[in-house]
Amino acid sequence: MELFLFIVTATLALAGALTVIGARRAIHSALALLVVLASLAVLYLLLEAQFIAVLQVIIYAGAIVVLFLFVIMLLHMATGEPGSPGPRRRQVAALGLAALFVIGLLSAVARPSTALPVVATLQPDFGSAELVGRQLFTRFLLPFELASVILLAGIIGAVVLAKGTLPVTAHPAAAEEAE
């Protein structure tokens, strides 16, 4: 049963990923990304990481993808059609590298996992919010605080950047609109 669920979800994720990189229009890529993220959330559930799964849905799928959609729709009228993949030669080289990389990684993971100890029992609340929280406030307190600082920095940075200090070079579409 679990295996079946895994295979379906994995296939969905893979298909979504390929769509992300291959779609002609950016909005399609964003929606495909949503599919990938949702599949991963299911996989996390399968892996006893409930809290993380919820986080994934809320933050990644819920906020980040939405941000992407906003920006795409904001800029879409100006981008026209997204650029084509590029010169043939570069594509082939990239694909070749990618293939090499995949082979390398797969051979890395395909080894028998004898090095990894397997503890028999899993504690009942493994992956729960309470357990994560407990770790966050004891062992990972400092990274936790630093993460808040980084968030603050990000907010400030985004505000500063959004104010727009760079000189604006006129774009035909925007110029038409201004008239």
Partner: protein, 619 residues
């Protein structure tokens, strides 16, 4: 031992600091007060030291200076009879010259700078004579050289003064190189540079070649500082500085540092070849300088060569194993030479800076006091009894005669006597030219110097007359008594062989009197007595400078040209530029990686990752 005595070098040092830091903002009377007051305090401390001095040398360690395992030096001051005597001379004569300077430098800019340097000089000289360790002595040695440079070039906007200052420093430096080598040899032999330790070490410690080489190198340094052959050339040029500076540094104190050094380390010089070398250099220099003084026209340069000549006498004394006589002459020379310089300064003050004797003359009436001072100094220099110069010079000649009679270098005594005669001639010449026989035209109305300049001269004149009592055997020679713990003084060698006791004094007095008469009469009415080829020889410094020029200067210039051209420009510059070009080229090549395309960067990262992955997998 009163503690106040240990503060001798402290006061002038404080004076230098005060004047150096804030002297520019103080009114002149305050500057003069600090400048002279500090030396007065040092003199008082020296007197306290003299009065309370016990039998043995007192040593006070100020602080450990260098402590590196094998080599350890502490800054140590040592008070004994010799250093006390030197300190008294330095501070006493120094104080008189400071007072004189108040008048001499009255109108000059840089007043506080002058007194600051002067104070620093006194402090450095005191450090030199009070040093208990040779390295500390060397520090004082170098410092007086520095002060000499600063004060010779006091009017640094004058080309000649600046050049003279540099020359003094550089020639001294050559001597100092020898000094340092000597120090190294001494350290290797004794393991320490502490003077007391070196002098009381067992005789075998310094052996073989080092026993001759080390003192000889130190003596080479002394020839630099005391302007003996071969490093004399800086002293005449040093007359570019203010005249009180010439009086203090180049007559009374700094140049005598070389004599002090040899006297202090006399036990090291106790080998016949060393003594012969010292005596030989001294006698030769004395004669050599006296001949040049005879044909000089600049009054201060005459006195400069006279100083060199008298210093030669002191080294002659050291070379015939009579260090106490050398120190005695050092003291009397301090008196009458400083007096002569101060009188010359008085003349310059009256004649608006003129010092060429061809433009002087007829000053006996308007500058009566100065003339008297100069006359007393001249009589002392010429060695006329009972003036101080006679007693000390005569003692040296006696000892030289004694040395010759007991198998020493036979030239020493005749040279000494001949030099005494030439000395009398040139100083009479100077006296005649400067003060008598008015020249054809003189548009300046000379006036006598202010009292602040005359009183120090009077004091020095009194000392030049009565100073002989210090070493006269008829009154028990208190100076030698006092010095006896440090410098063993032999008894009055009255009878030497078949010569009666007053053989030598008679000869020296006769030389002096005859010389004075000759000089006085031959050079009347500003006559320039031409000495023909002999005169030319003297004027060209016996062609010594031409020798230096040819051998040293040309060789140095040639080497410099070679090193600047083919070596520096050709080889080194090319090598450095090549490295630059290498970096440049490398940068140009690597720059092509920076395309600005993000995706290319990502691709490169990927390639790297693949490589790392492959490496790990292979392991």
């Amino acid at each position: 031992m009163a503690d106040f005595a240990w503060t001798i070098p402290l006061w002038p040092l404080l004076g230098w600091l005060a004047l150096g830091l804030i002297g520019g903002r103080l009114p002149r009377p305050a500057v003069a007060l600090i400048g002279c007051g500090s030396v007065a305090l040092a003199f008082a401390a020296a007197i306290v030291a003299w009065v309370t001095l016990p039998e043995d040398a007192q040593v006070k360690t100020l602080f450990p200076w260098i402590a590196t395992g094998a080599f350890a030096v502490s800054v140590r001051l040592s008070l004994d009879a010799l250093s006390v005597v030197m300190a008294l001379v330095v501070c006493g004569v120094g104080l008189l010259i400071h007072l004189y300077s108040i008048g001499y430098m009255a109108g000059e800019p840089g007043y506080s700078r002058y007194f600051a340097y002067l104070n620093l000089f006194i402090a450095s000289m005191l450090l030199l004579v009070l040093a208990g360790d040779l390295l500390v002595l060397f520090v004082g040695w170098e410092l007086v050289g520095l002060c000499s440079y600063l004060l010779i070039g006091f009017w640094f906007d004058r080309e000649r003064a600046a050049t003279a200052g540099r020359k003094a420093f550089l020639v001294n430096r050559i001597g100092d190189a020898g000094f340092l080598l000597g120090l190294l040899l001494l350290w290797r032999a004794f393991g320490t540079l502490d003077i007391a330790a070196i002098l009381s070490a067992p005789p075998g410690a310094l052996a073989g070649g080092a026993a001759l080489a080390a003192p000889l190198l130190l003596f080479f340094g002394a020839t630099g500082k005391s302007a003996q052959l071969p490093l004399y050339a800086w002293l005449p040029d040093a007359m570019e500085g203010p005249t009180p500076v010439s009086a203090l540094i180049h007559a009374a104190t700094m140049v005598t540092a070389g004599v002090y050094l040899v006297a202090r380390l006399f036990p090291l010089f106790a080998h016949p070849p060393l003594l012969a070398a010292v005596a030989g250099v001294g006698a030769l220099t004395a004669f050599f300088a006296a001949t040049i003084a005879l044909v000089e026209w600049d009054l201060k340069r005459v006195l400069a060569y006279s100083t060199i000549s008298q210093l030669g006498y002191m080294f002659l004394a050291l070379g015939v194993a009579a260090p106490e006589a050398g120190i005695f002459h050092l003291i009397t020379q301090a008196f009458f030479k400083a007096l002569l310089f101060l009188a010359a300064g008085s003349v310059m003050h009256a004649m608006a800076g003129r010092i060429d004797m061809r433009a002087l003359g007829g000053l006996a009436r308007p500058l009566r006091a100065t003339m008297l001072a100069f006359l007393i100094g001249a009589l002392a220099l010429a060695g006329i009894p009972p003036f101080a110069g006679f007693v000390s010079k005569d003692l040296i000649l006696e000892r030289a005669w004694h040395a010759v009679a007991s198998g020493g270098n036979p030239l020493l005594f005749p040279l000494g006597l001949l030099t005494a005669w030439v000395t009398a001639v040139y100083i009479a010449r100077a006296l005649r030219y400067t003060f008598f026989d008015p020249p054809a035209q003189s548009e300046i109305a000379p006036h006598e110097s202010p009292p602040i300049m005359l009183w120090p001269m009077a004091a020095l004149a009194a000392l030049s007359i009565g100073g002989g009592l210090l070493g006269a055997h008829v009154v028990g020679a208190p100076l030698f008594e006092f010095l006896s713990p440090v410098l063993a003084s032999p008894e009055d060698a009255g009878q030497v062989g078949i010569t009666p006791a007053f053989f030598v004094p008679t000869l020296s007095t006769a030389a002096g009197v005859l010389g004075l008469l000759l000089g006085w009469t031959a050079y009347r009415q500003h006559r320039d007595v031409s000495l023909g080829w002999v005169g030319r020889l003297f004027r060209r410094h016996w062609y010594l400078l031409d020798l230096y020029d040819g051998v040293l200067t040309h060789a140095a210039r040639g080497t410099a040209r070679f090193l600047a051209g083919p070596v520096d420009l050709g080889a080194i510059d090319r090598a450095v530029n090549a490295i630059g070009a290498l970096v440049s080229g490398g940068a140009a090549a690597l720059r092509r990686l920076q395309t600005g395309y993000v995706r290319q960067y990502a691709a490169v990262i990927l390639v790297g990752t693949v490589l790392v992955l492959a490496y790990w997998m292979a392991r």
